[in-house]
């Protein structure tokens, strides 16, 4: 309970009450990078989020929609790789199924732009706004899940605190860096790739990172508990 009270709850409150400050800082930093790399107009806008807690800021940048040829080539490539993935090394079957799902999402996106490009409901600004709102949620979700999981399984001592801090830091830094990279990719290569970035390369990787960090620290704790120094550290 001490761990939850001293570390997890304050971290949750930090994201909850300071998201206006965090998002304006992130947007300012990201906008500066995007201005330097794209040489285009990059603005910062804000959106109402949690009533009473302030607005969330996000980067606004003009984007382009794909041409018919661009969409067609992407659709053909997606179909090709989907078919190819069914023939590839069976030892990597889970990865192939995951990539096939990503290619399927991208195929749907390509077909959408082939058939009804004017009806695509989002601009880069919309994506940017969705990303920021989702990322705040991701940080808070990671904080809660990581806090509960570390508190539950890892014994008292440095492992628990270190695992939690490293996980939250990873999620925060990763979320910020990915935001700028994805906006750059969408600006440079059109909004055709938005769906794939959103569904397949989105928050899944936050959780992947969380579990990877968690596994490393549980492994460390297991080594310690089987050592002479760690014996008796935790009465099961």
């Amino acid at each position: 309970m001490l761990f939850l009270g001293i570390f997890v709850l304050p971290t949750l409150c930090l994201f909850l009450f300071f998201y206006p400050t965090i998002t304006i800082s992130l947007s300012s930093w990201g906008a500066a990078i995007l201005r330097a790399t794209t040489k285009t107009v990059v603005n910062i806008e804000s959106v109402r989020f949690i009533p009473g807690l302030g607005e969330a800021s996000f980067i606004s940048i003009e984007g382009t929609t794909p041409t018919f040829t661009h969409s067609l080539v992407n659709a053909i490539i997606s179909v090709f790789f989907i078919l190819l993935s069914t023939q590839i090394n069976r030892n990597n079957r889970p990865l192939m199924i995951y990539l096939s799902m990503g290619l399927f999402v991208h195929l749907v996106s390509s077909l959408f732009f082939l058939v009804i490009p004017d009806l695509f409901p989002y601009t880069i600004q919309d994506y940017s706004r969705l990303y920021i709102l989702q990322q705040i949620g991701t940080w808070m979700t990671i904080t809660v899940i990581s806090g509960l999981a570390t508190n539950l399984v890892l014994p008292t001592g440095g492992y628990k605190y270190a695992a939690f801090i490293v996980t939250v830091l990873f999620s925060f830094i990763f979320g910020c860096v990915r935001y700028v990279i994805y906006l750059y990719l969408l600006y440079r290569f059109t909004v055709l790739y938005m769906a794939a970035l959103y569904f397949i390369f989105g928050v899944l990787y936050d959780f992947l990172g969380m579990i990877a960090i968690y596994a490393i620290f549980v492994r460390g704790a297991s080594y310690r508990m089987s050592s002479n120094a760690g014996k008796g550290e935790w009465q099961w």
């Binding site: 569904f199 899944l204 297991s222």
Partner: protein, 426 residues
Amino acid sequence: MVAIMKLYFIIMIIVMLVYMVRHIIFTYNRLYSQQRLSYRDIYDSDLPKITVLLPMHNEGRVITMLFDALLKCDYDWDKLEIIAIDDHSVDATGQIIDQYSSKYPIIRTLHRTDPDQRRGKPVALNEGMVMSTGEIMIVFDADYRPSKNLLKKLATAFNDPQVGAVMGRVIPLNASKNTLTNLLNLERTGGYQVDQQARYNMRLLPQYGGTVGAFRKSLILHGGGFDEHILAEDTELTYRFALDGWHIVYDNSAECYEEAPESWDARGKQVRRWSRGHNEVMFRYLGKTLTVNRLSFFQRIDAVLLLLVYIVPFLLGLAFLDCIALFFLGEMDILTGWWIVLFVGAFNAWGNFAPFYEIAAGALLDGMKDELLVLPAMCFSFYFYMWHISLGFFDAVVDTITQRHVEWVKTDRFFESDPDETENPT
């Protein structure tokens, strides 16, 4: 229509959260609550006469290892009978079991060779039970290797007249073979060391798993034997017994070693078959489980969640498609992106047959170390399971609608008996 799609999405998030909370409770219980002991740890009394049933189909590559391990088990041979059932094998299985039978009188054989006979594990078990002389049946698949005291541990629980079935713990023997077997080892650790033990601790519903398990013969025969049209006779037994008020015991110390599938193809087929069988049982027992009076409120909730385990990945796949459709309809904005976070977070936590913290708890209890480094790969294997479990669900739906007869297909074996390692006990 959009409203229905959003509602479905939100319902799935709630379902995921329910499973997540359930597994957090199990993990907490396993790590911090008082553990129920094995019957063998509480008392040591006269043991009943037992019959070990070994249903086999083309198991010539592995069967000698099981025989040798069983013959080394610590159990009075006057009270032990082994029935080896050759179920239409075309390899050397029949000859091998005959050789063992001629050498060891406690081994009896049942050759099922008539081409007009129905094949499969349930029908083989039914015939084996009819010719058995023991009251307690213990079942092993051919690729399992029981530990020395396993039979005693399983049999002792039946001194409690309320116990209908007992389940032991399965541990992969080939965990270090490749990434898949390592992952399966972690899944098994989470599933048995934590999940099954916690359910037993909390007096919920430990699952009888069809192998490394024992049951009272009279209870099954009284109900007409195993249903020969069902693939998951183990799950069916679990619910049949539980709804009739019989206790199902899990003994974490009753360890048995298995050969885990070493290829994703074999694992995919195995999981698809499990999903098919489990969902057939779900169709039959969901209504009864919800309405039965013999189970307490929490037992009923847990029994329902257990029954739904193999439909949830299919529902998640549907939610994923739902999510894509909402995205292209421009409706993700209304959900403000938050819901997908919970959705993804929850299903990553639930991921496979056990969420990551439950696996980590089991791994710590088992003293695993470097094996944990493959834990992140679960994120990807989840998609694999979602696909194959969904296929199994469709099979079950078609089976139920068309009443077609299912064919039992066993999992591919990878081990080869090494004649040099085969020892004959004296």
